[in-house]
């Protein structure tokens, strides 16, 4: 079973109008790479030049990646990744 990525309407335009996307990967970063292959430009929207998450908050099964292992956090089948605009966290 693949990892599911949930995207709010606010970011839908970045992902070809989709609000759910499934992918395979060992780490969150792998999933973002898959997203970038499908929707070019995704990676640079989500990750800055220093390799840090920017503009968005990313959650694995509800937990902010900042409180896990960041982009190196490992994922397993059935996990859910949610991506929300940074300002939504305020």
């Amino acid at each position: 079973m693949p990892v599911k990525i949930m995207i709010p309407g606010s970011l839908r335009n970045w992902f070809g109008g989709e609000t759910e996307y499934s992918c395979q990967g060992e780490r969150i970063l792998d999933c973002i790479d898959r997203l970038d292959e499908r929707f070019p430009g995704t990676k640079e929207r989500l990750i800055n030049q220093k390799g840090n998450i920017s503009n968005v908050l990313i959650f694995l099964n509800g937990d902010n990646l900042r409180n896990l292992d960041g982009l190196s956090t490992t994922v397993k089948d059935g996990d859910e990744i949610s991506i929300v605009p940074l300002a939504a966290g305020g």
Binding site: N64, V84, P85
Partner: protein
């Protein structure tokens, strides 16, 4: 009850006993301290069209009245100046209760699962924090006003970090 005051940025759902002194940052009958709020308090984030959040608010109100959910607030309109096209609803609770509350939310069709701690939010709104600095830029304040805004944020939010043993006092919204 749902308080929809047009002068407020937020529509707020709270227990009516708030008017007679009931607090919502309470655990085992004791009001939480600033330190406990920083450690445990947070919210589930829900994004959506205002009309959908209005419907969700009506469904969630009974759970607030039943004291299963402490308090909820949501945007009257999207914070476009901060780059969001949808309204945001925040369902506040103690981290130790969040899974029970997630069960309620998922029952009503919430799919996007995002838990943000109050500590993380406050850090983003302290001077130098990404949201405060973006908000200041979006308002195009002059330097004097920018510094005043930062001083006010430091005074209000910094106090919570600097006084962990004091009882937490929510601010008016």
């Amino acid at each position: 009850m749902i308080q929809d005051n047009p002068e407020s940025k937020f529509i707020i759902i709270f227990h009516p006993d708030i008017f007679i002194g009931k607090k919502y940052t309470v655990r085992s009958g004791l009001e939480m301290t600033n330190g406990e709020v920083l450690k445990y308090w947070g919210k589930w984030i829900v994004l959506g069209e205002k009309s959908w959040l209005d419907e969700l608010a009506i469904k969630l109100d009974p759970f607030v009245e039943d004291e299963k959910i402490p308090v909820i607030k949501y945007d009257r309109e999207p914070s476009v100046n901060l780059g969001i096209e949808e309204c945001v609803m925040m369902i506040y609770c103690d981290r130790r209760d969040r899974d029970k509350i997630w069960q309620i939310l998922s029952r009503f069709g919430v799919k996007l699962k995002a838990w943000v701690t109050e500590k993380e939010t406050m850090e983003m709104w302290l001077p130098g924090g990404v949201l405060l600095e973006r908000w200041i830029e979006s308002k195009k304040f002059n330097e004097v006003t920018k510094n005043k805004v930062r001083e006010d944020a430091q005074a209000r939010l910094g106090y919570i970090f600097e006084h962990p043993d004091e009882i937490f006092v929510p601010w008016e919204q």
